[in-house]
Symmetry: C2
Subunit: 460 residues, 2 copies
Amino acid sequence: MYKIFGVFLLGVILWFMPVPEGMDPQAWQLFTIFIVSILSVVFRVFSILLASVLGLVLAVFTQTLSPDQAFSGFSNDIVLLIVMAFLIAKAMVKSGLGIRMALLLIKRFGKSALGLAYSLLMTDMLIAPAFPSNTARSGVLFPIVFSVAQANGSDPEKGTEKKLGSYLMFTSMAGIGLSSAMWLTAMAVNPVGAAMVSGYGVDIHFANWVLAASVPTMVAALLLPWVLLKVYPPEIKFTPSAASFAKEELKKRGGMSRNEKITLGIFILLVMAWSLSELFGIDRTATAFLGLGLLLLTGVYTPADIRKEGEALVTMIWFAILFAMSMALYDLGFMSHVGLLISKEIEMLSKPLAFLVLVFIYVLFHYLFVSQTAHLLALFGVFISAGADLGLYVTGLAFMLLFATNYFSVITPQGSSCNVLYISSGYISVEEVYKYGGLLTLFFFVIYNTVGLAWVFWIF
Amino acid sequence: MYKIFGVFLLGVILWFMPVPEGMDPQAWQLFTIFIVSILSVVFRVFSILLASVLGLVLAVFTQTLSPDQAFSGFSNDIVLLIVMAFLIAKAMVKSGLGIRMALLLIKRFGKSALGLAYSLLMTDMLIAPAFPSNTARSGVLFPIVFSVAQANGSDPEKGTEKKLGSYLMFTSMAGIGLSSAMWLTAMAVNPVGAAMVSGYGVDIHFANWVLAASVPTMVAALLLPWVLLKVYPPEIKFTPSAASFAKEELKKRGGMSRNEKITLGIFILLVMAWSLSELFGIDRTATAFLGLGLLLLTGVYTPADIRKEGEALVTMIWFAILFAMSMALYDLGFMSHVGLLISKEIEMLSKPLAFLVLVFIYVLFHYLFVSQTAHLLALFGVFISAGADLGLYVTGLAFMLLFATNYFSVITPQGSSCNVLYISSGYISVEEVYKYGGLLTLFFFVIYNTVGLAWVFWIF
């Protein structure tokens, strides 16, 4: 009860505070609503669904946002892509294909939780350069992770999610941030950032990106499963008989069924379309709708199956609302305004400290963002120019900010659309993401800005 | 199989037909996709979900619609209002308030299916003048109808929907079209139409609208439950012991529980806000979000409850897609173009025949519309001006077209957002709406254009 009161009080104080000079008063109001909504989730006052719904109601009734603005997230293509990816993933599981792929994975790497985690990370790293949409990539990886968990008897519906599934899900979720940092083409906005720094004489392309990213990303990827094993451990770490069980199970299943074959075909089609989407201008979300359409057309998945997936609706509601608010905050110029204020504040610091503070604040800012793209567009330019003005090492700063734009995805539940899919599974709670996601982001920050920075400094 | 082929063939023929002179080729392509999607539902080739998803995919991949246009329905406020109304209705049922209201109704009118049907219609008629949004009104009525059905042991999950529920649902769904026709203020677009004919010297206001509407609407409302009893009969028509059962059941339940009281309070708040929304500029959809927020805040309804409501997601997907397509068809000028063509074609008919043909075609056109508002905006002006040019009785034509804009809501599943809620219940299938909804629309057309027209002619 005192928590509700505290959040409420904070909201009132922020609301009636004098608006920072030069800032749009509407931007300040929206910031108040947004930050109070998020804090009410962090401090477990409200569920993320309730916090979002109340945030929307407040924003509309105080005329901070127009109804159209407030509702706009529901038709955002990233939000719809997530909903479709959710349904397609469920169809993959239902057809039995998910389990088959999981069993194949377990057969090879299934002796320990760590082995499975590494094999999932590796799969992600290898397919990432061909996937400009990390959201679409999560749509591919999620059903496999889900099935691996299920095949090992770890299921949130039976209360056994902590047995293995939670650990694997979290590893894979955080891993997508790393695989995105590894390749220039693994996230839609990486090339945009690279283009933005060319004005500062920094030339970033596919080859020098992967070279610069390789060392810190490999270190982070090698440590990630092990760190999570310590702070967020699965109940079973070793499954010595899992490989032979998987082998036997695969034998029992025999050849692929009609539904498995069809699903595999659709899956391959989607993977191809998604990885070529940038090149040929194929709409990623319409592709996902096509995938669902084909699954329904072939009867592999039915409207009756979707009727059970209310979770997708819950996910859609909170994510669409937070998405719209964060985008409006960006459109109203809130983010860049504060970015400029900060760059002024750090003038008096020593150069190395200013460098670290700049990157750290850039990362912290992701608490306010629902979209990595919007984050980069709003702040990357501001922070690079502040760094250049202060005479910092611009190439290093550019890489550190660009890598951060990827690895900080795990800082909040809404920090990346990928997370949304993993959380919807029930294996990971919203509060756990705030806790361990924040911790991992800090951990990645340290690796990239020590080992990574030294490596970048050495090779360039 | 031959049906799939037939629909496919029709689509190909329409697609490659020469575009009617003066029409935007994109409008013709979209019309082809839209009409083929709808026909594939009418002829049971595809489910309405699959037809919509495939329609969206075709529209985007042929570049008939941009992805943004195709997805826009998901953030439309009417679509979101329906989704929220769906969830609030479920919360009303869960709290027990729905059943209590249903038992009170059964206690008084529950001796026969007909008695219940009339009492539901009457409730609707009485609250309608205060509800400028028929969609919001369906949100109020639906949970009561649902609970009446459940209290009588009629439940689609047990295969007993035809026992009583289907009949009551259909009566109430068609009844909303009649209650909307009864009052100038019972549907958002009625006053718009009234304003549009003032240029022709026809002065329509609250009092003469209800006077003109009273006779045909009363006749239609009196006949509706009886007609449906013949063509779409419930399995049980008489429930002589229902009243005493309801009385006993109410006694057993005792006073209202905490959750019932809270739900009732929220319900009254919503009804008040919805009925005053026009007056004070309160956003109807944000009000619905507020309703859901309060239900979640008080714990009457929980995120876990919503996780079971995948049906709301299915409904949202197909309705949002059809909504967006129909609106785009309107924006591209398809509707008014064809309206003008038709008005030229009927020049040679006798005046009374031209009058009836004009109204009839206006009604038929509703197969293409998902929004009654868009229908009126697109065609009402065209048809009135065509009638005036032909020297028809403009006052009568104005009323006949305005009444039609309300009663034809039941012609297709997507003909009004209200229907969507009733269909989502599982008591009424999409195919049944095409069949019996079409029949009822024809029936209403006859009543309004005989009895109604004579009455309007006599009083003015």
